[in-house]
Amino acid sequence: MPPVTYLEAISSGLREEMERDESVFCLGEDIGVYGGAFKITKGFLDDFGEDRVIDAPVAESVIIGAAMGAALMGMRPVAEMQFADFITCGFNQLVNNVAKTHYRWGAAVPLVVRCPSGAIGNAGPFHSQNPEAWFCKVPGLKVVAPATTYDAKGLLKSSIRDNNPVLYFEHKGLYRFPRIREEIPEEDYTVPIGEAAVRREGGDATIVTYGKMVFHSLDAAETLAGEGVETEVLDLRSLLPYDKQAILESVRKTNRLLVVHEDTLTGGFGGEIAAVVAEEAFEHLDAPVRRLAAIDTPVPFSPPLEQYFLPNTEKVTTALRELLAY
């Protein structure tokens, strides 16, 4: 099998699940004849028909609410938010209806909401956000954010097969990222929800990150490796539940922690990681936990503003140096 992109991995994962299980269907805006704004479902309408590839009105609350109703009936809907930013229009359905149903009256709601997220260059405040943290404090939801092509497919399959609602954040900047084109197995495989992956081993500092920031972190680690510093890069892959043990093990080994995410700083998921390390590994720390994230503003449009807003390799490298210098 030739190397595939992250986008192709998502598309083939979705296709294979629809072929494997008749209860899986797709619902979203422009996913039919257009194949989705990012072409994840290109060709699906012809192959699976209108009953399983459903073009929805521009109405995220009913996309998610209807997915819940279908899930109660034993279907496994995969709803697409055209951009993750628009998930706010379905916020109530997700946090009050979908998330609380099993707890309240025991009915499983197996659905996936695919959320193309992240900044990819001058798309402005409403097509660039990383809204994952809003949902990581909602018991009943699961949240995943794959960084690699292999994980994109494996985590999507796990999400679809999970008996709970899963928010699947796919970073738009990874869709066609040449560096992560890879050969993936032809046979069926999954990646378990809730397990982090060590992307680079090291003993001097730990970076905990996820999504596109994995690659900025790896590049920063590579730069510092040239200076004799070995940084461990832990890709969370899942945020809810997240792999607390993997974080603690790494921090107990390296004694220094930098948390990196593209979402804004205050109230971002990095705060949770910093808190759990402070609670459970404080005595192992040789320096205060450091967080690097987007600045606390809306995502600005114009290139210099957006570049100022976003974390990047240079900023990660600087933060890492400061952490090591403490």
Binding site: S61, G69, M75, G106, N164
Partner: protein, 341 residues
């Protein structure tokens, strides 16, 4: 019934013509009346328990809505899905929740439908094909549309029946859910229980069209305006809508008009409701109206009606005893059930 031909509620021919020919027998009327009576008795008891400090949490009642609850849910088949609201406990009873179940639910007991995880009318039960409501009114209209979507995709003819107050009809989910159901011609029936007040807000501050059912034409769906205090009218409108949905004719919007005979909840004495509206409401009490009908038509004797009332009282007495003797959940049960296995 098309919107354009929807009769005025005062149309005396409505009762005289269509409704005599519903195909309902004595047992059907017994079930309908029993359900309405049980709702009234159950909720009066819930209010009393509240005043006595024996209830857990808040008390809501559907006094004035009993004909809507019973008449609509009675039109469903076993495979259909009920997506109820807080004033139709009678619909829960018809789908299989017992008075014991619902009293355990109200009292937060471990053996209630939500095992104490949620209270009062907030209970679903897939064994009975009931989806649990949430407080965010209107949120379950999209869910009912999704239930109907699954039914359409898979076949089998199941219809979803859901409700909203005229108050909740202002929220965006009303539009999104009904429009989606209309676009995909889904087997869904949406009943607007128009009881004239959204908590304290009168209809003139809720919507500007003459009738909420006027919106049906805008969505391209069938519409029906019915007297929500007449159990036969509600039954007929719902049955017609369910039949149409089952045949692939898409959703129907039914506006069932009634009067909320109590406040929004137990704490609210409804001082803001003009006296004439409340008096008119009690003069059209759906439970009394059903009773009069059964007596006038000689379906039942006075003794039989009294017998049903005694039976219902016994059921509620038993439910209270049972629930109060039932265990509360263990505290650490709070940890259980966040996720499905």
């Amino acid at each position: 019934m098309n919107v354009e031909t929807a009769p005025a509620l005062s149309d005396p021919d409505l009762a005289a013509s269509d409704l005599d020919d519903l195909g309902l027998g004595r047992e059907d009327y017994r079930t309908l009346y029993h359900t309405m009576r049980l709702q009234r008795e159950f909720e009066e008891r819930v209010y009393r328990l509240f005043r006595q400090g024996r209830l857990v949490g808040a008390a809501y009642a559907g006094a004035g809505h009993e004909a809507i609850a019973a008449g609509s849910a009675y039109a469903l088949g076993d495979a259909d899905i009920l997506v109820p609201m807080h004033r139709v406990i009678g619909a829960h009873f018809l789908r299989g929740h017992t008075a014991r179940d619902m009293m355990c639910q109200y009292l937060g007991r471990a053996n209630g439908p939500t095992a104490g995880k949620d209270g009062n009318m907030h209970c679903g039960d897939w064994d009975h094909h009931i989806v649990g409501m949430i407080s965010h009114l209107g949120a379950n209209i999209p869910v009912a549309a999704g239930v109907a979507l699954a039914s359409k995709i898979r076949g089998g003819g199941a219809v979803s029946l859901t409700y909203i107050g005229e108050g909740g009809s202002s929220i965006g989910d009303f539009h999104e859910g009904l429009n989606f159901a209309a676009v995909h011609s889904l087997p869904m029936v949406l009943i607007v229980e128009n009881n004239k007040f959204a908590y304290s807000t009168p209809t003139r501050f809720e919507y500007a069209c003459e009738h909420i059912v006027d919106r049906a034409r805008g969505y391209g769906v069938e519409g029906a305006l019915v007297d929500g205090t007449d159990v036969r009218a509600v039954y007929k409108a719902t049955r017609d809508a369910v039949d149409l949905a089952r045949e692939g004719g898409g959703p129907t919007l039914i506006e069932a008009r009634c009067t909320r005979l109590l406040g929004h909840a137990q704490h609210d004495d409804a001082f803001y409701v003009p006296k004439d509206i409340m008096e008119d409401g009690w003069n059209n009490d759906p439970v009394t109206k059903a009773e009069s009908l059964l007596l006038e038509r000689k379906y039942f004797t006075r003794e039989e009606i009294d017998g049903i009332q005694e039976e219902v009282k016994g059921i509620v007495d038993d439910a209270v005893d049972y629930a109060e003797q039932s265990p509360l959940p263990e505290p650490e049960e709070a940890l259980q059930g966040v996720y499905a296995d």
